[in-house]
């Protein structure tokens, strides 16, 4: 556990984010150390997705400070592409490039951003396709794969950039129930290998098993954040209790 004592990979201080009049994030402060696994949960519209989308600047925060791997994210950050290439992201709707085969989906960013040669990029791509256990799909197009397979490809695509941290934005919410576990298995493996992860999810079983810290958000605020044992067994805030009772009763 020694490397977890190192400096924060991600640091958010008093971050506010507005969409017009609507305040999506209120005074968010959160730090993530190397190797830490954080699960963010909360009702829909609570700002969970906005929070992680601010970390790779798909959304621009309005005030406060966000530092990713030593780079502060500001409106004149020149190397935002460089910061993004260190931060992998997996989306709810997979967002695989439909016009490219699976292996070419994986090769695109290493080729263009890392300037890898074609054979290097191919080797990296196949290595990660093996890791998510679908190398045999390499030459198919995304539309020919199931949702679970597509999401595993999306995870592999992000891993090809060898990111310092992985962001997951409700990675299983668009999947049929029987496909959820194949994606969670890949994510669990990744966590066990020491990947730094921030996961927005409603999969409380995954949170309990994998998370170092569970963060509960409501109405743009972090209401409660605790290790999973404490979070699930002794929630202190009324809103957390209500949320957990709604999500865990079935």
């Amino acid at each position: 556990m020694s490397y977890r004592d190192q400096a924060n990979i991600i640091q958010l201080e008093n971050v506010d984010k507005f969409f017009g009049e609507f305040q999506a994030l209120k005074n968010i402060t959160l730090s993530v150390k190397k190797g830490e696994r954080i699960v963010v949960c909360g009702p829909s519209g609570s700002g969970k997705s906005t929070l992680i989308r601010c970390i790779n600047r798909l959304e621009e925060h309005n005030s406060g400070k966000i530092v990713v791997n030593g780079h502060e994210l500001t409106s004149d950050v020149k190397d935002i592409d460089a910061v993004r290439s260190e931060v992998g992201m997996v989306f709810q709707s997979f967002n695989l490039f439909p016009h490219l085969t699976i292996v070419k989906n994986l090769m695109l960013a290493p080729r263009l951003v890392r300037k890898s040669s074609k054979s290097e990029a191919y080797d990296i791509a196949m290595q990660y396709l093996e890791r998510v256990k679908i190398p045999e799909q390499a030459d198919k197009y995304p539309s020919q794969l199931s949702g679970g397979q597509q999401q595993r490809v999306a995870i592999a695509r992000a891993l090809c950039m060898n990111p310092l941290v992985m962001l997951f934005d409700e990675p299983t919410s668009a999947l049929d129930p029987e496909m959820i576990s194949e994606v969670l298995d890949v994510m669990t493996d990744l966590a066990e290998e020491g990947m730094t992860m921030i996961v927005v999810t409603h999969e409380m079983g995954f949170a309990r098993k994998v998370a170092d810290l569970v963060v509960f958000m409501d109405q743009g605020e972090i209401v409660e954040s605790n290790p999973p044992g404490e979070f699930f067994d002794n929630p202190t805030n009324e809103r957390t209790k209500l949320f957990l009772s709604q999500i865990l009763t079935h």
Binding site: N56, A82, F91, P98, L108, L112, Y141, S143
Partner: protein, 231 residues
């Protein structure tokens, strides 16, 4: 009314002498118009008002006026300006052929850039975000993600515009060019047989249109192979 079959058989080969010019106008102004459309598109979606505002004005003018008027202005109007006669473009603009290419290019460029813009707007935002999240630069995202998908989306509308352009080439007969329409009008002037001649001409245009449709159908099928599922 009776059809003079012999006249039809006699005049079709004559009109086909003009098919070379018709197709040349189609391909040259089609290619130049596409290049112009791409430049206009990039200016239009640049997000900079001093680039997008002139583009919008340009598109408004060329889509908002009859192409026949545009051809006349370029052919009859431009030579009235001395500075145009002195410019390096005069050898081109002096010839009706040059004027025809210019008018068709400027006109189709305006339409095609709007067609391409429709394609670009149709690209799923999530795909561009996925590219951004991987660290791709804005330019790389446009070239490798947005463009290929936008082209596929724009193709049906674009094929429509190519057919439109092909039909518009007939208007160059009004500025002395002897394309198929120009030859047909000459024959009609000599024979006073408009039905036979123009109906034959229609058939020739329909065959060209069929060729364009088949070509684009084939391209669409090729570009959609990723949409077809094997499962």
């Amino acid at each position: 009314m009776s059809f003079d079959l012999a006249l039809i058989l006699d005049s079709i080969p004559k009109m086909l002498w003009g098919i070379g010019l018709t197709l040349e106008l189609l391909f040259v102004s089609g290619a130049l118009g596409l290049a112009l459309a791409i430049v206009l598109l990039i200016m239009r979606i640049s997000g900079r008002w001093y680039l997008s505002a002139p583009t919008m004005a340009y598109i408004y003018i060329f889509r908002g006026t009859p192409i026949l008027v545009q051809i006349f202005i370029i052919y009859h109007g431009l030579p009235q300006f001395e500075f145009i006669k002195d410019s390096i473009f005069w050898p081109i603009l002096r010839e009706p052929y040059g004027c025809a290419i210019l008018a068709l290019t400027l006109n189709t460029g305006a339409y095609v850039s709007e067609i391409l813009r429709g394609g670009v707007l149709g690209v799923d935002r999530g795909l561009k975000e996925a590219g951004a999240a991987l660290g791709l630069s804005t330019t790389d995202r446009f070239i490798y993600i947005t463009s290929p998908i936008a082209i596929r989306l724009a193709l049906p509308a674009y094929s429509n515009d190519v057919i439109s352009l092909m039909k518009s080439t007939a208007l160059v007969s009004t500025i002395t060019l002897l394309d198929m329409m120009g030859i047909a009008r000459t024959i009609v002037a000599e024979t006073y047989a408009p039905y036979e001649i123009f109906i034959s001409l229609m058939v020739i245009y329909l065959i060209i249109t069929w060729g364009i449709q088949r070509t684009f159908g084939w391209i669409e099928k090729r570009m959609s192979r990723h949409v077809r599922s094997e499962a």
